[in-house]
Amino acid sequence: MEAVAIPPFESFYAETRDEIWRYLVRLLGRESAEDAFQETFLRALRGYPKLAHARHLRAWAFTIATRVAVDERRRRAPAGTVPELAVEDALPAYAELDHLAGELPATERAAVVLRYGYDLPYADIAAALGSSEAAARQAASSGVRRLRRRTA
């Protein structure tokens, strides 16, 4: 496959910033999303020159944002309680899933939203969660089981 040239960071940032912002607001609420947004793109900028190609750039941005959000949630809710979600109006489909998954533990929630909302492969989800691929798969499936029990 032909290598895809890595675009200037400005182009990548301009293309992804709005959806990453919306994603972080949904995961963390408006206030915490501000810091998480800065952290997400500063991490992306530091890692950017190390990218081997430009495939999956969008997924890569989501994995960083998810990792930042998971860190932030762990920091905020060490006892495992997950804070109330900020829900925005007129959400696209993945956001409805996000809303449904709102009461899941942070890791399961991130795995479910990334897998079924953003259609990321487990390898990327594992990278986002800082876990193994098997653990990411496990987190997504136990999240789905929990949701089924709740909505049954």
Binding site: P8, F9, D18, I20, W21, L42, L45, Y48, P49
Partner: protein, 187 residues
């Protein structure tokens, strides 16, 4: 819902302040039209007339690295000094330039060019002689034509031996305007 402007701006300023950009750039208005200004950690690396930002940032990324980001704070000094220059209150730029990516001949030409003072002019042949290549006037012209940092590196101060303006990558009208501003217009 788009990211709020203040949050976007904060990111751009922080990225520049943390020194993790290869190139910061910005657009600014001037009496010779809109300019794109760009700088690396080492100094100004680009001033473009009639900028097409998308193409310009592709070129910057190729030459200096992919971490190219618009950040107005990082270009504050150059912007202010250019304003002062166009306002007539500044004769010399106190800015570093990053010419490291250029071929050595062009670096030599541009280094010598920076010694031509405000309000003065030099010729292609004169410049060629002063870098020890007296027969390279045409090559000097080529090097000036590809000057990445016009105005600050004053290629507008180089004219033909008869006093004619000859050429300017930004267009002869701009060259004339810059020389008139400096009071160097040959009668």
């Amino acid at each position: 819902m788009s990211v709020p402007m203040d949050i976007d701006r904060t990111f751009r300023e922080r990225a520049a302040a943390e020194g993790i950009l290869d190139v910061a750039y910005d657009l600014t208005d001037s009496p010779v039209g809109e300019l794109l200004l760009a700088a690396t950690e080492r100094g100004m690396c680009r001033i473009s007339f009639d900028p097409e930002p998308e193409r310009a940032i592709e070129e910057l990324a190729k030459t200096h690295g992919v971490r190219v980001l618009r950040s107005s704070g990082a270009l504050q000094q150059p912007r202010r000094q250019l304003d002062e220059y166009f306002g007539g209150s500044r004769r010399d730029f106190d800015l570093r330039v990053d010419l490291a990516a250029l071929p050595s001949f062009q670096q030599a030409v541009l280094a010598e060019l920076q010694r031509v003072p405000y309000g003065a002019t030099d010729t292609y042949g004169g410049l060629a002689a002063r870098i020890g290549r007296p027969r390279a006037a045409r090559a000097v012209g080529g090097a000036l034509n590809r000057n990445p940092v016009p105005i600050v590196v004053p290629c507008h101060r180089v004219v033909g031996s008869s006093g004619s303006l000859v050429g300017y990558a930004g267009g002869l009208e701009r060259k004339e305007r810059l020389l008139a501003l400096e009071g160097a217009l040959l009668g």
